[in-house]
């Protein structure tokens, strides 16, 4: 509610079919959760704007317009906002408002190239903005939408074009530890299962346990001001106790249980979000040995 204290107008923004539309629960900056209506690429955004005057006063205005904006906010070197999408409709020409008035609006077949995203230093958001221009302060009302992008199997998108391969690697420390790890695929849908195994070829360390972590790395900006930050999304213990030569530890990690973001590569040349699978071994003296490998994530219908 961007409600100014002495605002003479009450603006209500409603979307058509709000009750039947799918919603997404997202975390706000303050840690609470809010429900937003979900839209897809190419979908029409339509609804009504109702403006009421308070105390039955007459309010003069210089025009009412509604905009649909898509913006990327980065916190690189101070907060910067950059609009990649900007559509506008005029709802009313300059005049007077006496009684409550309702205006219909429709943004037809809007291309929504990117997914909505709320990260640590980057936010990508789509929102409707109603502006009643006045000689004194403008009255503004915003309503945020959420957008998901679904991967189409044969699209030209770089993620889809990447062939699915098995991830298999031989890593270790000379004469001390030698493991072979294998994951079924290099790219997964958000509801997929990571299936794989760890095979121990040489164990001269006293291993206490082994865990798998999912790490999201967000990178924003371009060199020399590029900033990266990593967040551990999940930590999962897959082995407790000391393994010996020849032992195989299976991996089965259901991704649906975690709050994951699909892999974003260089969105509008502003930011990227990548996910890594980190295998960590911890020994008796609390030393940590780890191997990270990237996994490509995509959203499936």
């Amino acid at each position: 509610m961007s409600f100014m204290f002495k605002s003479p107008l009450d603006i209500e923004l409603r979307l058509d079919g709000e009750d039947s539309r799918e919603t997404v629960e997202v975390k706000t900056a303050k840690g609470r959760k809010e429900k937003l209506s979900l839209y897809k690429d190419g979908e029409t955004v339509k609804g009504q704007v109702t403006i009421r005057t308070r105390d039955n006063k007459k309010v003069e205005h210089l025009g009412v317009r509604i905009q649909l904006l898509g913006t990327i906010e980065t916190n690189n070197d101070g907060i910067q906002a950059d609009d990649f999408l900007s559509l506008a409709h005029e709802l009313a020409s300059p005049g007077e408002l006496k009684h409550p008035e309702t205006f219909q609006f429709e943004f037809r077949n809007v291309e929504k190239q990117y997914e909505s995203y709320r990260g640590t230093n980057v936010r990508l958001r789509y929102y409707l903005k109603v502006t009643v221009s006045r000689k004194s302060a403008d009255v503004i009302r915003e309503k945020e939408l959420w957008v998901y992008q679904y991967q189409v199997a044969n699209s030209k998108d770089s993620t889809a074009a990447l062939p699915t391969t098995t991830v298999k690697m031989d890593v270790g420390i000379e004469d001390c530890l030698h493991i072979e790890f294998e994951y079924s695929k290099n790219k997964y849908s958000l509801k997929d299962v990571i299936v794989g195994r760890i095979y121990f070829l040489l164990v001269r360390l006293k291993i206490k346990h082994m865990e798998l972590s999912l790490i999201r790395r967000e990178t924003c900006g371009a060199a020399p001001h590029q900033m990266s930050n990593s967040e551990t999304l999940a930590r999962f213990e897959i082995m407790d106790g000391a393994p010996v030569r020849g032992e195989t530890i299976p991996i089965r990690l259901f991704l649906g249980g975690f709050d994951l973001t699909p892999t974003y590569k260089d969105i509008n040349k502003k930011f990227s979000t990548r996910t890594f699978l980190s295998l960590v071994l911890i020994d008796e003296d609390a030393r940590r040995y780890f191997k990270q490998s990237e996994i490509i994530l995509y959203r499936d219908e």
Binding site: D175, G246, E247
Partner: protein, 161 residues
């Protein structure tokens, strides 16, 4: 004539992608693990009777099957100043590894340094230090002084300076 065997298990009818099965040998499963390493610091003994020449030394016992160590079993005696010189050499040998601290020098406790409690605290600290250092994979394979300190009959710091 029926072509399918009614007693065939479901498993064999599903085509598996050939997963490389690694079968462990009996020895691999139940034999001695390859990471066997036991290091102890025990039996403190105070030598000498003139207060100017008294000192305490400790026994280091090492049992292991790790090839980086020269012997499978060793028993040697070392005193605190030996640990001190060894630690300095270790720090100079590696830039990547953080070497843990030794228990305190007895400068503040000089009059008590042959006290049983003090010696026991010191013994525990030295043991902890040696366990962490000897178990480190980069030191086991990378440090020339580590194996010598633990297993050579006599510790000669000058060989490594």
């Amino acid at each position: 004539m029926p072509t399918a065997n009614p007693f065939q298990s479901f498993d064999s009818s599903i085509t598996h992608k050939p997963i490389k099965e690694h079968k462990q040998t009996f020895d691999e499963l139940y034999g001695e693990p390859e990471n066997f390493l036991e290091v102890e610091v025990i039996k403190p003994v105070t030598h000498g009777n003139k207060s100017s020449s008294m000192y305490t030394d400790y026994e280091i016992v090492c049992r292991t099957n790790i090839p980086a160590f020269k012997k499978r079993f060793s028993r040697v005696r070392r005193r605190y100043s030996d640990f001190d010189s060894f630690r300095k050499i270790l720090e100079s040998e590696t830039t990547r590894v953080v070497i843990p601290k030794l228990p305190e020098k007895s400068l503040l406790n000089y009059s008590n340094r042959f006290n049983d409690d003090f010696i026991e605290e010191r013994r525990k600290g030295l043991e902890k230090f040696l366990i962490v250092v000897s178990g480190h994979p980069l030191l086991q394979t990378g440090s020339k002084s580590l194996i010598s300190f633990i297993q050579d009959d006599v510790w000669d710091k000058n060989k490594f300076l």
